[in-house]
């Protein structure tokens, strides 16, 4: 089965009313009033209009794994985006309004990454795995004016009084309200095209709204800017050498930190995006083997699923796997490289448009063993192409401490990672107090604890709340996980602090065994615990060795593959 190589898409044409007779003239928005000819507000929307000018017939969006597959060229996609903008304006959406979007990866959510912006409104991308009550909170808090909702997520908003546009993800006008919405937008436009839409004159205007999952307390709404989105997207396109020949597979949900700006990075690159509704490793391998995929993003847990799949083998083209959310282990790096997938470790937050740092390979790494190298790759590294310098400062005394003082570059002194500059968020929506705290001292406080090595690379030791204070020593749960995962029978591991009568806290390790070793330890979990503890003692100081080892069939994870340590903490609290 070959997707991009097949002629399948040629036999399909999307809703006729969505396609204008000729697109090319007038791919230009009404320009903002200008102070200076030489200053044009940065806006990722320009990427789409440029792509549609240069490569109108290039495939932009491919959505093949549904009963009614759709394939949109840049020309057609740009028209759909334009229709969406007009439809939103017709529905009363004003500049700065929030438009809620709840959908898995699909053409509809891809449309909104540009179309809502083209109406100068802000897409509020909502995590599809939330509970209805959380969704309700976000809709209210964001004061969203309208909901664009995929059919699979309709139950999440069924009690909302807001106007809803249901998308059945068919690409056909008949029976698909979203498609009818677009067609309505086109009619409303009266063929004024892009020149009937006003471009945003303030590059620091809000671009996207993403609520962070928030392990404690209510989710907070992160507002990013057009300028930041533009610069972060270019950095991702540049740093991963994306171009006309790039085929990007959407495994990472687009709603997660605005898809790390890849919706725009791909468009800047004239690449082809393949949208996968769900993380289905069978389908992922179909695409890796048959669709000439060159790039995908995912947390380590996703990557583990990729390399351990029975179909895993060398794909026909070299693939770059961008990894964030946690550091990849030596085992994972080795497995990926074995099948020709180049792992790229980046680090960032929703508040930094995804990647803010990257582990940049040094020439001497070539001479290291896989295990030595993996320790360097696991570092968060140096600042990303358009980011300002990442820094680690002495931990603040409290949430009002404005002091910004760098820790020494000794690889030992732990401090808090701070960021600043163009790819840091603008603010928390409607929460000036949280914004003030996050930005105190004129920098963004990440809440991640790290050291700086003599070469200037930063390495996260922990989230401040994940640190284990064992016998008065600070033990990094991440460092412990890194060492435990080097045990050949460990597939995945999570370490948390558990109360200890003598030491205050001690590490508790949750372990998933590698499938081929499950049987070995099936009836003797305590023997495995002993074996792993012995392995740990050779590698870790005593206070960092796990006191408890628990073999589990799976770990609780967020929709984006992050391990939910707060769930594990709840579990041990009951013990």
């Amino acid at each position: 089965m070959s997707y991009l190589r097949s002629d399948a898409f040629k036999s399909f044409r999307p809703t006729k009313a969505s396609i204008p007779p000729s697109l090319r003239p007038g791919l230009r928005m009404k320009p903002p009033a200008k102070d200076m000819v030489c200053v044009h507000p940065l806006n990722p929307l320009d990427f789409l209009l440029r792509a549609a000018q240069i490569y109108p017939e290039k495939l932009a969006i491919v959505h093949p794994d549904t009963p009614t597959p759709v394939f949109y060229t840049y020309s057609v996609w740009t028209q759909r985006v334009q229709n969406l903008a007009y439809a939103l304006i017709q529905a009363g959406i004003k500049p700065g309004d929030r438009v809620a979007v709840i959908a898995p990866n699909s053409p509809m959510i891809a449309d909104t990454n540009f179309g809502v912006m083209a109406a100068r409104a802000i897409p509020n991308l909502i995590n599809t795995r939330l509970k209805p009550s959380d969704v309700e909170y976000i809709l209210e808090h964001s004061q969203s004016k309208l909901i664009l909702v995929d059919h699979a997520c309709a139950h999440l908003v069924k009690n909302s009084p807001l106007p809803k546009i249901l998308c059945n993800d068919t690409g056909r006008e008949e029976g698909d309200p979203y498609e009818a919405f677009l067609t309505g937008g086109r009619k409303f436009s009266q063929e004024r095209g892009w020149s009937g839409l006003e471009s945003e004159s303030d590059e620091n205007a809000g671009a996207m709204l993403c609520y962070t999952s928030g392990t404690t307390g209510r989710p907070k709404g992160v507002i990013t800017t057009l300028r930041g989105s533009y610069l972060a997207a270019i950095a991702n396109a540049y740093d991963n050498q994306m171009n006309y020949d790039t085929n990007y597979l959407w495994i990472l949900p687009m709603f997660h930190a605005a898809g790390w700006t890849y919706p725009w990075a791909n468009t800047f690159s004239f690449s082809t995006q393949i949208t996968l509704r769900n993380v289905d490793f069978d389908l992922i391998w179909n695409h890796l083997l048959n669709s000439d995929v060159t790039h995908y993003c995912g947390a380590p847990t996703v990557q583990i699923g990729v390399v351990n799949h029975p179909k895993a083998q060398k794909p026909p083209r070299p693939v770059k796997a961008i990894i964030a959310g946690a550091a990849p282990t030596a085992h994972l790096l080795g497995k990926l490289e074995e099948i020709g997938i180049t792992p790229i470790h980046v680090y960032g937050l929703t508040k930094t448009y995804g990647p803010f740092t990257r582990s940049y390979a040094q020439p001497f790494w070539r001479d290291l063993s896989l295990e030595e190298r993996s320790k360097l790759v696991a570092r968060q590294g140096h600042s990303f192409a358009t980011a300002s310098e990442v820094r680690v400062i002495k931990p603040p005394k409290d949430e009002d401490d404005e002091t910004v003082e760098d820790v020494p570059r000794d690889g030992q002194t732990m401090g808090e990672i701070i960021m600043s500059g163009n790819i840091v968020m603008k603010e928390y929506l409607g929460d000036s107090e949280a914004t003030r705290k996050a930005f105190r001292g004129g920098v963004f406080h990440s809440g991640d604890l790290a050291v700086v090595h003599p070469d200037g690379s930063v390495a996260i030791m922990d989230r401040s709340k994940d640190i284990i204070i064992s016998g008065g020593e600070n033990a990094s749960s991440l460092a412990i996980e890194q060492e435990l995962s080097s045990h050949p029978h460990v597939l995945e591991v999570a370490v948390i602090a558990r109360t200890h009568p003598k030491w205050g806290e001690r590490p508790h390790a949750f372990v998933i065994l590698h499938p081929q070793h499950e049987k070995t330890w099936a009836s003797k979990p305590s023997a495995f615990a002993d074996d792993l503890k012995k392995h740990a003692k050779d590698k870790l100081p005593g206070f960092a060795c796990p006191e408890w080892v628990e073999v589990v069939p799976e770990l609780p994870k967020t929709s984006t593959g992050k391990i939910m340590k707060h769930e594990l903490r709840k579990r041990v609290a009951k013990l």
Copy 2:
């Protein structure tokens, strides 16, 4: 002879006083006061500081072809740039001041592309091929405060009353005033490092000053911005896939349109720059064959010199040749591709930081003949990665006409190319009237005449002053040159208008014969003229066929390889 592969550079260390014991801490300038944490002024200086952080030991500048070769790592180079900034401040240079720089490609001019900026001053890069009187005019008009001058250019400024720092291009402190200047800067810094230098808070502040050669009238001083330089440089780095493995050969002079932003694009990419003092094809081929060169820039005349050199053969690594200044001919394209050099045709002006458009290859080009394809490659194409849309408008009635009205996309209607957005210059220094005229209607008027093809690509027909009005028809001198150059015996050709008693004007062609065919026509120039006219008649309308054909041994060219048509016009005016 192998340069980059050799260990030669390891045995050499530049002036000891220029190298600090440890560079890494404090590669951060004093930050500007901030309105918003998320807005950091765009400034290419950030590229250098980031490169020195991530790859301090990577070779940044290689200058091997002198009696005292020098090799600077990013770490050392960054220190030299810092020293230069302090030295300038010590010399009384204030923010916004102009510092004149007259030098061929060399480490000194490379330093100034960052070091003058680090002092918040503006480098005034002066063409080394100008006459002393022109240099004098520029120095006065720019109100430059200081001159940094290479020993080979000292005669150009010997009458100037300004303070001068002579550079003997040795990299040694003894007997090289420039090196002593840097050392003085270091002493003056009192080891405050980058944190003792203030970063520019206004990204629209002047970045560079380049005087355009001006075929008529006095040269005009183009002021660009930090924001534009940042965005244009990233576009060049992205679009030509430059990265850590890039070895860039400096054939294009850095003083020409600020080296098309490649001083910054290279630094953004962590690449290695090899500086060539002169366009010496023997040396160029030494580097193409032995230094693993991957990229270089040059006008077609330079490229002709490259492909026709006796050493021409397939270099060990794929090479990208970026071509601007005129369109490459089919012959040149074919020759370049034959030896594994990929030609990339871009178009722009000093006022647009070099490249503003590029001829983007389309998949169907693969199926075309070389000649058909070369006609498409020769188009100026579509807008560059961070440029706003390039447009062609109905020619203005006069220099006060503010009308901006696009010509139809018919490939026939000629109009004027206009540009706007972030990679358009800020202004002409001290000439508000010329600035107003250039920016009338809120767009930049290029003075180039072009058509727009149905696919949106633009194709230059001529400079407005180069058009030939023959029998009332507009004949494009470029189109005629393109056709004449397809004659197998033509190496290079230039066509201008010559007064004609009956037709008003008629084309006059100056031709350089291909060396291997020189003998064929040696004693019979009129036979060649007949042969070429016959060739032209098959391809061009009658009014565009050359009335006169003149075989010449060489063509008058600017230092950057552009043919000086005004010189040719002077010549025919005398006939």
